[in-house]
């Protein structure tokens, strides 16, 4: 019962204190600590990606420096010329194939066609063989360069061995490990000396090609006239490029240091991802990035109309019963494990798509027919299935958040349901829908198993010259490469660090997409309130 003069009741009870905190404070601090975990995890992710990946640039700089010092770069200049020539040769054989096709369609049997192409073949052969002296020179120099590199690598290994031995205190043994420093300048002298020979070879080559062109055979079929003329122009351009290549060799500076920026560019804009090569390893992001973007693009092209369309239908037109059935069903799709979808792609979808592509009346579709089961399209279709529930759910939310007054006002003015939806509700929800699409993109770019299993895993920048046909090429992706190679690399190696760098890029990319999505959403919220 209350006692009116219970003054002490008002005073603080002597609460237990620990380190100056009451139990309540401590509990509050405990919960607060847990709330910060998200921040800490984000910070730790950044830290460990940077920690494991940051060494990449230093190591890659060294890698590129050796590439230059050992003369591999010098030889690759030569090889570039060789490749240009080979490409022209390949063009000739393509033309022959066309001509042969044309002839046999014109009624000639194989023998007759071959005979008709006799002059052309001789021409092509001579063209192909013209590069042989250069090729010989190239492989001779490649051997020298590769020997320098091997010597350097062996030496580095010995150094490492010696360092370890002396670290273990076995100094005597350490002394016995022989280390012979490589004198790069001296070792590369034969390479530089070969520049004169290269000039001679090129002069002969130019003369040969010019004489070939002047004695070019008449086109075996009339359709080839134009391509052959084009070919002639290209050969002339190629010949006129030869002095430039010589100049490149002339000005090649073995001792020029590789800058940090060069190492960075080699990663960000490198066009090759080549590992465990006996010649030179390249860690270029471009093939992986384009692969990731291409697959994500295909997935979005498929999933945006489906996801947004379904959201509009369910939110605006579906009956209550249909809504109640469809929404959980689409949500349920989001629970499909991606590895199961990837497996489905390998087991079923890839083959189905390939056979569809061979249906004759679908010939007009770019890239059809194709023979690779696993490609951008297969992975893109499955990723679309992953993105649709995300896009659907968020877009439906955005449509739901449009204030009721807007469509009511429109309907009251005599607009139809569809007009109201398309002109009032959809624009009002647009930023929410855009952010839904962005979050869908984030999911798709970060998805691993589907692309690892279904994208075909060919590490090369897809051939965009084929237009939309690029959609059926096999590619490799940033997520896929990490999943595939991480298990096999040596810890601390350049390759290992490169994979962490790819992870870092992926991380930053997803943060950027997320950030953008939230910004758009926030602006929209402000505008509507």
């Amino acid at each position: 019962m209350p006692t009116p003069d219970s003054r002490p009741h008002l005073l603080a009870r002597r609460r237990l204190r620990f380190l100056g905190l009451t139990p309540d404070d401590a509990i509050r601090a405990f919960f607060g600590g847990n709330a910060v975990v998200a921040v800490i995890v984000l910070a730790l992710i950044t830290y460990f990606l940077v920690r494991e990946g940051a060494g990449f640039f230093g190591q890659n700089r060294r890698n590129l420096e050796v590439y230059r010092l050992a003369g591999l770069e010098f030889v690759d200049h030569l090889r570039a010329q060789e490749e240009a020539h080979t490409a022209l040769t390949r063009r000739l054989s393509e033309l022959r194939l066309q001509a042969f096709d044309r002839l046999s369609r014109g009624g000639a049997d194989a023998g007759a066609a071959d005979r008709a192409l006799g002059g052309f073949d001789a021409y092509a052969d001579r063209f192909g063989m013209a590069i042989d002296p250069l090729r010989a020179l190239g492989s001779e120099l490649a051997e020298i360069a590769s020997a320098i590199k091997t010597k350097f690598v062996v030496n580095e290994d010995r150094k490492e061995e010696r360092r370890q031995l002396s670290a273990e205190g076995r100094t005597a043994e350490a002394q016995r490990v022989e280390v012979a420093p490589v004198d790069f300048a001296a070792a590369a002298r034969p390479l530089l000396a070969a520049r004169d020979r290269h000039r001679e070879v090129n002069r002969a080559l130019a003369a040969e090609l010019m004489s070939l062109l002047s004695a070019a055979p008449a086109p075996p079929v009339p359709e080839l006239r134009e391509p052959l003329e084009l070919f002639g122009t290209e050969v002339r351009a190629y010949v006129s490029e030869l002095p430039a290549i010589e100049r490149r060799l002339e000005t090649w500076d073995q001792a020029r240091p590789v800058s940090f920026g060069e190492a960075l560019r080699a990663f960000l804009f490198g066009r090759q991802w080549l590992t465990a090569s006996f010649w030179q390893d390249w860690y270029g992001l471009l093939p992986l990035l384009t692969g990731s973007l291409l697959v994500a693009g295909v997935a979005l092209i498929l999933s945006v109309p489906l996801g947004v369309g379904a959201a509009i239908y369910v939110n605006q037109f579906a009956s209550q019963r249909e809504q109640r059935a469809v929404k959980p069903a689409i949500e349920f799709i989001s629970a499909f494990p991606s590895v199961v979808l990837g497996f489905f792609g390998i087991a079923v979808l890839g083959e189905v798509l390939r056979q569809v592509s061979h249906v004759p009346w679908l010939d007009w579709v770019p890239g059809f027919p194709f023979s690779e089961r696993l490609n951008v399209l297969t992975a893109g279709c499955l990723l679309a299935l992953i993105a649709v529930p995300t896009i659907f759910t968020l877009a439906e939310d955005a449509l739901n958040n449009v204030p009721r007054a807007l469509p009511e006002a429109s309907l009251a003015l005599g607009a139809s349901r569809l007009q109201t939806t398309l002109r009032i509700v959809f624009p009002a929800a647009l930023s929410g829908i855009i952010s839904a699409v962005l979050l869908g993109l984030g999911r798709v770019i970060g998805e691993t198993m589907v692309v690892l299993l279904c994208a075909g895993n060919r590490i090369a920048i897809p051939d965009f010259t084929q237009g939309l046909g690029v959609m059926v090429e096999p590619v490799h992706t940033m997520t896929g490469i990490i999943a595939q190679e991480m298990g096999e690399v040596v810890r601390g190696s350049l390759h290992y660090r490169a994979l962490f760098m790819v992870g870092l890029v992926l991380f930053l990319l997803s943060l950027g997409i997320n950030f953008l999505a939230q910004r758009i959403l926030r602006r929209y919220r402000l505008a509507s309130s």
Binding site: M1, P2, P4, S6, R7, H9, L10, L11, A12, R13
Partner: protein
Amino acid sequence: MPKTAASSSPIVEISDLDFCYGPVQALHGVNLAIPARQVTALIGPSGCGKSTLLRCLNRMNDLIEGARVARGSIRIHGIDIHGPEVDVIELRKHVGMVFQKSNPFPKSIYENIAYGLRLQGVRDRARLDAVVEQSLRGAALWDEVKDRLHQSALGLSGGQQQRLCIARTIAVEPEIILMDEPCSALDPVATAKIEELIQELRARYSIVIVTHNMQQAARCSDQTAFFYLGRLVEQAPTRDIFTNPANPQTEAYVSGRFG
């Protein structure tokens, strides 16, 4: 000027109280003495600060971000309730509160009443039983619920729920009970029961009630304080306020000309 005309010694003394929600000042220099074991009604139009003042008395405003006492003090038994040695938890045990919307816990009736004691660590079943019965009787609810003490409190009617909340409050043995428009969500019959109950409770508790209903203030309070725009306009024995207000604003309000 407001008259301070408490007949018995004041239990709460509010002096020069300024109260702010962030940049918005809600109370301006309020001086008010609340007498012990009487019913004090706070009346005034919406937004006049009467609820804010009520929530100051047990420091429920602490929970609102940016809310603070800018000047002045509130003393209960002469102790400044914002003083450093005052434990807000002890204060709230001492100053109970009944809310506008009845808010029983989704537990049994018994557990609702026993809640406050359990918080204090009381485990003794016999004592809990005694307090539950006592409190329910005190809130005139015992006869209605004694057979279903262990059923959910959410099964009670609105008026019963509100009386349950009162019973729950008196179970902690407060000295002061704050009531924030306790009948605003109830029908006239349930309201009458609560008013009856308030009359019974005034013998043992000092009650401060915020109400919009002038008849209610007239029927069941001893003292009435009229607030307008965050200022205390007039405080007087209820009879005086309703029959012979000193301030023309008060007169206008109680006669229904605005508000």
